[in-house]
């Protein structure tokens, strides 16, 4: 069957079956920044934005995304670069596997929370696991990014 999904402001028609998950449909259509980390919705690596809100693409059927807006990190390049520069300055750039999905979640968080504290940032991002950094350097970078109103 065919579904119509707007990905990064581009209207796309994807061929899929009702069993397909958004993660695989996106990857098969060259959105390789969307990646898989686990089988059980626990890691956050597959996060994309659906109508602006973070969702786990491994658990959203492609058909459920029909008619919706999907944002992958390719759609927020400027913000990702801005956040990436803070990551680089804080040494938060290690294996990077969790970074694109984290950038998307941070981007959504920036719109939802006004001047959050570190505690609130931790809570919002708790579903984005990281095994490399120990989290602290990422959070230093994110707080600085949030404080940068340029």
């Amino acid at each position: 069957m065919k579904v119509k999904i707007t990905v990064n402001n581009q209207e796309k028609i994807f061929e899929c079956t009702p069993s397909d998950y958004l993660l695989d449909t996106l990857r098969d259509n060259n959105y390789v920044s969307v990646r898989r980390g686990c089988d059980t919705t626990n890691c956050g690596v597959c996060t994309v934005l659906m109508n602006g809100k973070p969702v786990p693409s491994c658990s959203v059927l492609t058909v459920q995304a029909d008619g919706k807006n999907i944002t992958t990190v390719e759609g927020i390049q400027e913000e990702a670069e801005k956040l990436g520069k803070y990551f680089g300055a804080e040494g938060a750039d290690q294996c990077g596997y969790c970074n694109p999905s984290l950038a998307l979640t941070v981007y959504a968080m920036k719109k939802e929370l006004v001047n959050p504290t570190v505690k609130e940032v931790k809570k919002y991002l708790v579903g984005n696991l990281c095994r490399c950094t120990g989290y602290i350097s990422q959070e230093r970078a994110i707080m600085k990014y949030l404080g940068d109103k340029s």
């Binding site: 059980t40 596997y97 095994r131 350097s137």
Partner: protein, 767 residues
């Protein structure tokens, strides 16, 4: 220094966060055949019959591979230097399956769906054998896990497979039993550490294709591309020259990708069919069918005189290597070699024990590599001894621990499966680490504990050491070539698995060549294009590969100077990284020089290759301090802060070094507090998903304080040692000590859960 020890963003961070194709599966051929493994439901069984007739008929199924399709060549999957100190006890596919999750057979098909359909159609008949599931009852168990005659050791490692012993070891200095009789205070305690899963976020994956030279080209998420190439060649009898292994970006490894995973089957499928193929481990397969940490039982006996001088150290260890013996001996030895020298002034020391086979998921390399297990036992035992002596844990350590310019006889005795290398601690700032740490955590005012009503605040600490590469075994090399436009290519075999080696090595080259990092373009880990490197393990990359880069960069500097001398017709040429000037003030820029020798005159390609093998393994040291608030009624723990004071020599990249320590501390806290590989009674893994196996989240980690002390290791590049593993070693003992300081209960088995604490407290209350 302008580049080294300066804040430098990684060379690849921006590209990755922006989502560029970077990881192994991002580069898989779109038409790749999918290789899907059928995994054993039994802990130990013999395959009697495989009926795959229906499955093979399915349209879209290319083939079904069983043990009958492979010649019987044994090998080790461990990514180590040849000849490996691990037993050759694995076949590509075997008639026997030795753990729940072991490979039974593989189906190869057009897509995942048809492979899963095929697997459902295949009927396998097993003869179920009695599994060995308790490592304390493995030795001489009537059930023998590796009876096959082909299994062998490459050199003596104590391999006695008919007794279920994968390796064993014994060393002693002096007569420990005699010394103990002369001690005023003796303690003897037994500790258990559990198996831990790496949980790197990128599951194991590999893909292969035949290139137009009819060579097998493999993209592999691995720590050791060169070892993978060799082992594949060996096991599949494909000439080494026909194989290329490329390591793209790796989404974390921590030791879990220091061994064969899907490479063997995928390589074979592509080689045989000529078609591209790939395998991606599910998270379940990563848990069940890759590797985990060696669980251990350790009995420590310490003897001291009443003034607190430690005189005798006896350490008996039993390690469970699971169904196959990858890294069995070497992890075991590190329990001793990178822990016991911390107390180097004892009169006698003994370290001995066995590594046994069981029908569990194979254990393998994992950050710390034995040092974390040994550290938990020793540093807990030290605190127990301190209490009996009536001495503060800080005072005792300051009195007995390793100091700069000292040595330990253990260094010479214990190496990588064989004898070691004697070395003096040219740099050892443990004293300063302990002193600084006690101030940073405010030990004086918090030790042993502060009552806060429902909760108790307490502190606990431990010291640790690790190594920097394996002397006389680990080799790294680097090639630097000059391009037109005056920039360099740096080609290294060294394997960036997220620890930032690409960046660190660029920094070293740029510092020597007196240029900026954007002028040094790195390409790494391609067995065709980059010079050899043993791979990312044993904390070797900065020290070993870094020294190779240092050498190569100096040789390149001399090479460009030689050209400049020729062009400027003078022997007295100065170079500032960008411009060459002679004594008459005549100059030429590097850019112009490079363009000239590429296109106009005396054309040549300047390129140098240098290699390095370490003659020592200078240990990094650290002191770790944890502050906890613990609920007296429930045992729940808040980690308020973890202070790490580290001596790793020069931090080539200070922020990335801090990140290594932070990340390792959190991984160590996970092992200390709740990570637990759990098996069912039948030997199947219960904790085989992220739903049942939990790792620390950002809410669990309140604050980390990581600082480095000034230290310059002459033998290291710009004074560096290593920092990749040291951070993981102290949290288990530091936490156990803090819990004791808070509530007076001593937990001697990991993980230290609120349940264990509360039930121990209740038991104590009943006494």
């Amino acid at each position: 220094m302008k580049v080294v020890n300066n804040i430098t963003p990684s060379v690849d961070g921006l590209g990755i966060i922006k989502g560029r194709p970077a990881y192994t599966d991002d580069f898989a051929d779109k038409n790749s055949l999918i290789v899907k493994v059928m995994r054993s439901p039994h802990a130990y069984a013999k395959i009697i019959k495989i009926d795959s007739v229906e499955a093979e008929k399915l349209p879209g199924i290319e083939m079904v591979l069983t043990y009958k399709d492979f010649s019987r060549v044994s090998f080790t999957r461990a990514g180590q230097g040849y000849p490996e100190p691990s037993p050759y006890d694995k076949f590509v596919l075997d008639e026997y399956v030795r753990y729940v999750g072991d490979e039974v057979l593989a189906v190869v098909g057009m897509d995942l769906k048809v492979c899963e359909e095929a697997l459902a159609l295949i009927k396998v008949e097993y003869e179920i054998l009695e599994p060995v599931l308790d490592f304390e009852n493995a030795i001489d168990n009537p059930s023998v896990i590796h009876p096959e005659p082909e299994a062998h050791e490459m050199f003596p490692i104590g391999f006695e497979p008919l007794r279920n012993i994968a390796a064993s070891y014994h060393m002693n200095v002096g007569d420990v039993e005699k010394t103990l009789t002369e001690c005023d205070v003796v303690i003897k305690e037994t500790f258990f550490t559990q198996a831990q899963a790496h949980v790197m976020l990128e599951p194991h994956t590999v893909n292969a294709r035949m290139d137009y030279q009819e060579r097998l080209c493999i993209y592999d998420s691995t720590q050791t591309p060169y070892h993978m190439r060799r082992i594949i060649s060996q096991a599949l009898n494909i000439p080494l020259s026909k194989i290329r292994v490329v390591k793209p970006r790796v989404g974390g490894a921590f030791g879990g990708k220091q061994g064969i995973h899907g490479e063997m089957l995928v390589a074979w499928v592509t080689y045989k069919t000529g078609k591209p193929a790939k395998m991606i481990y599910t998270r379940k397969e990563v848990f069940e069918s890759s590797y985990s940490r060696h669980p251990m039982k350790m009995t420590v006996t310490l003897g001291a005189d009443k003034s607190g001088v430690l005189k005798a150290l006896d350490f008996h260890c039993l390690s469970d290597t699971g169904a196959y013996g990858e890294h069995a001996l070497t992890v075991f030895m590190v329990v001793g070699s990178k822990v016991l020298p911390l107390y180097n002034k004892v009169d006698s020391v003994r370290f001995y024990g066995d590594v046994v086979y069981t029908n569990h998921t194979p254990a393998g390399a994992y950050r710390g590599y034995g040092a974390i297990q040994g550290n938990f036992a020793l540093e807990s035992a030290v605190d127990i001894l301190c209490e009996k002596l009536g001495m503060s844990p800080i005072e005792f350590r300051q009195l007995n621990m390793m100091k700069e310019t000292e040595t330990s006889p253990i260094f010479e005795i214990m190496g990588e499966g064989t004898a070691g290398t004697a070395m003096i601690m040219e740099t050892c700032k443990l004293e300063e680490c302990v002193e600084k740490g006690t101030k940073l955590i405010d030990w004086k005012n918090k030790y042993p504990s502060i009552d806060m009503g429902n909760k108790v605040k307490s502190v606990g600490m431990a010291i640790a050491m690790q190594g920097s590469g394996i002397p006389y075994i680990d080799m790294g090399s680097a090639t630097i070539k000059l391009n037109d436009d005056g920039f360099y290519n740096l080609l290294v075999g060294a394997t960036d698995i997220g620890q930032g080696s690409d960046t660190v090595l660029v920094q070293i080259a740029a510092e020597v060549l007196m240029t900026t990092v954007d002028k040094v373009v790195i390409y790494s880990s391609d067995t065709d294009l980059t010079p050899f490197d043993c791979g990312a393990y044993a904390s070797s990359t900065t020290y070993v590969s870094g020294n190779a880069v240092f050498k190569a960069a100096n040789e390149m500097k001399e090479a460009v100077l030689k050209e400049a001398r020729r062009i400027l017709k003078s022997e007295l040429v100065e170079f500032d990284g960008a411009v060459f000037t002679n004594e008459l003030g005549e100059s030429i820029t590097l850019i112009d020089l490079s363009n000239q020798i590429t296109y106009s005159e005396d054309q040549k390609q300047l390129s140098v290759t240098a290699s390095y093998v370490g003659h020592k393994s200078p240990p990094p040291f650290m002191a770790g301090f944890v502050e906890i608030d613990i609920d007296k009624e429930t045992g729940e723990i808040d980690i308020v802060d973890y202070v790490s004071v580290v001596d790793c020599g020069t931090t080539i990249n200070p922020k990335l070094a801090e990140g290594q320590v932070d990340g390792a501390i959190v991984q160590g806290l996970g092992m200390a507090m709740f990570e637990n590989v759990l098996y069912s009674k039948k030997g199947g893994l219960i904790s085989n998903s992220l739903m049942t196996y939990k790792i620390p989240t950002r809410v669990d980690i309140n604050h980390l304080t990581t600082v480095f002390v000034d230290s310059y290791e002459k033998s290291g590049p710009f004074g560096a040692k290593s920092v990749g593993e040291i951070g993981i070693d102290t949290p288990p003992a530091a936490l156990a000590n803090a819990v004791y300081n808070a509530l007076g209960v001593r937990i001697k088995s990991l993980p230290i859960t609120p349940e264990k604490i509360l039930l121990a407290l209740k038991a104590k209350g009943r006494e």
